[in-house]
Symmetry: C2
Subunit: 400 residues, 2 copies
């Protein structure tokens, strides 16, 4: 029997507890061994919990108990979660987490500590909730040089954009509905401004290309400025607007960005709606592979965590494939040099627009909207100075 | 260094050779060890091959060479492939295959031989080409009870149906184009009649639910009877027609079927076009997860094979999670008892149709097409006797 502990009994932590109890039989059958929970760490009281004897308030109880092999961290944040994760790894225990902030900001250091103590630090649940993402990348696509990663990585913003698209809502109205349905938090900043997506694409990029990416280097735009007119004009041209985290490698240079993008309908990412998430990897051998499912939620996220626990239970040691190294200096591409087509809306005359941008494609049924040819960010910025631009959204190009 | 051999130097086998040479550096880095090819088995001559010294014609050379740890079987068919796979497993070598026919018909026996000799028998490439399917199911979703599996598992038929849908082609015209583009074989029976899909859904079903499914029990209908009118009427009602392999479990009873189905546009499976494939698993915790990508082709399939080689290189032993047991008796649900809504086209009058089927939904713009309420196959068969039916296609219901 493998003994585990859960740190943080919130939505995801209680989901882990529930799966380990509810599916104990299938888990034991598949693993050839039972998984038990010995402790739950939480500062709150759970007097009415059916197993209230499991609850402890002191992380040292877990760290010092030699029987506990695997610890789940579902506390969130980077203060206590960071301290307790270090403590557990240093005690030789493997840690499984859904904490994307901690993995994206402290991953490199925590991998090093895990390596030193030959413990695993696994984080499938930190990106894409229940969707298998990390292991398919690391294992199944291991024969490929990964060229690009992109994805719809945040359910809240995708729910809002879907509402704007399907029901012609304004951003504010759609956000309010998302809050009322429990899909957006009272303070939605981390979602709608793209911070959550930055953390996730930082993790995927580091793993795909092998070295850490500083979150702060990743240019991020949220969806707060997207209007319902943008959405309907894009639709008329055959595009859905999605908040995309994307990254690519060119030689030894990497780039990552978070921004709303126009995704053509023929691309399967355009069909990812509501709170669903999808991640696409482009490998030199396999081409494009997309993984799709529920990117958040109690059971889906807990499903990924228990999957990691079972993985570690089979092989409890540090595995360098599930880690990345320090950031390499001077390898992050200057955002100004990256190239896109741009969707724009402008009150300027057709002539002025053509004078500024040359050959553009006006969108039928949206007299003020057009799509430019491909150019660099710097070029676009400069050319745009000559006209009034009310909306400017990058166009996602399907590559393989 | 890990020594391997490739049996069968056709499209996929040569793809494996090429990846192992071209990406040798990343493979060695990720694995911490190099992978080399010591032999290639093929009865044909490859006088101009740059490494012609690798070619052998006798499988015993490989079987008797203790240095060879992993053997790739990309021969196809069940005669020699079966014999040689057994020979390699009995010599304690692990085998990686893309041979869906062999895995679906002889899997149970080959797993047993692999288990006895503590060798691995892996088959990620047999379903969905390069798409990670087997390992996400077995590893990442290990905490779930799988409730259902379905997928678009054959690229040829999906290419034909996409042509019929987008370019309003007849089945015959679309098939001809597929043959000219190299997406369909001269004798397309295995694809268009559903046999290829049967093998793949048999493998996924056995793996998801733990016991073998006899291919011959799986009711299969191909796409040869689908007309361009069916496709356009379905489109008017908001559905794409796809050849689906699907299966589910209810208590201890399982069912699998291959048939064309109407898939509603809001389901991501409807957006899978051309030669792309997608597999959807429904887990009790994670809900629906979809894996999408190139289901065939040299590099994509070889990518999955090399992924399996690297998996085995890390852990060369029999793993019961990647296998299934004997078929359990009397557990296959009677096809007549399975329930669907049906899309039909009929020359009979609206009154006759309503008399036969009760409440149906006629499709606007297609006076002869309608969708029934849900009923069992047996019920539908009986009710249908009263009217003339020119097309009858099951409707896929999105469940979670």
């Amino acid at each position: 029997m493998i003994k585990t502990a859960v740190m943080g009994y919130g939505v995801v932590g209680s989901g882990v507890y529930e799966i380990l109890r509810k599916n104990a039989d299938v888990i034991a059958k598949r693993l050839g061994e039972e998984i038990d929970i010995k402790y739950i760490l939480d500062i709150r009281e759970f007097e009415n919990h059916p197993e209230k004897e499991l609850f402890v308030k002191d992380a040292n109880v877990i760290a010092e108990d030699k029987e506990v092999e695997i610890v789940v961290e579902t506390m969130g944040g980077v203060t206590f979660a960071y301290e307790f994760t270090k403590k557990m790894l240093m005690a030789g225990k493997s840690v499984v987490t859904s904490n994307k902030e901690l993995v994206s900001t402290k991953g490199t250091e925590l991998f090093e500590i895990a390596r030193e103590h030959n413990a695993a630090y696994m984080f499938e649940a930190a990106v894409g909730g229940g969707i298998p993402v990390i292991r398919p990348l690391v294992n199944c696509l291991a024969a490929n040089r990964i060229k690009a990663v992109c994805g719809i990585l945040n359910g809240t913003t995708n729910y809002i954009l879907t509402k704007m698209f399907k029901e012609n809502r304004s951003f504010d109205a759609a956000l309010k509905e998302a809050q009322e349905s429990g899909y957006a938090e009272k303070n939605p900043a981390a979602d709608v401004e793209g911070t959550d997506t930055v953390r996730k694409i930082a993790i995927l990029t580091a793993l795909a290309f092998g070295s850490n990416i500083d979150d702060n280097k990743i240019p991020a735009e949220g969806i707060t400025k997207i209007t319902s007119e943008d959405v309907s004009c894009a639709a008329k041209a055959g595009y859905a607007i999605k908040l995309m985290g994307s990254s690519f490698i060119e030689g030894d240079k990497v780039f990552a960005r978070v921004c709303p993008m126009l995704v053509p309908y023929e691309c399967p990412l355009a069909g990812v709606e509501d709170v669903f998430n999808a991640v696409q990897f482009t490998g030199d051998m396999v081409g494009n592979v997309m993984l799709y499912g529920r990117g958040a939620g109690k059971s889906a996220t807990a499903s990924a965590i228990v999957g990691d626990i079972m993985h570690i239970a089979k092989r409890n040691e540090f595995d360098p494939r599930f880690a990345w190294g320090e950031e390499r200096e001077n390898t992050f591409i200057d955002p100004a040099d990256t190239r896109y087509k741009y969707f724009m809306r402008s009150e300027s005359s057709e002539e002025e627009i053509k004078e500024a941008f040359g050959c553009v494609k006006f969108i039928e049924g949206c007299s003020d909207a057009f799509i430019t040819e491909e150019m660099s960010e710097a070029e676009c910025e400069k050319k745009g100075e000559k006209i009034d631009i009310s909306s400017k959204i990058r166009v996602y190009e399907v590559k393989e």
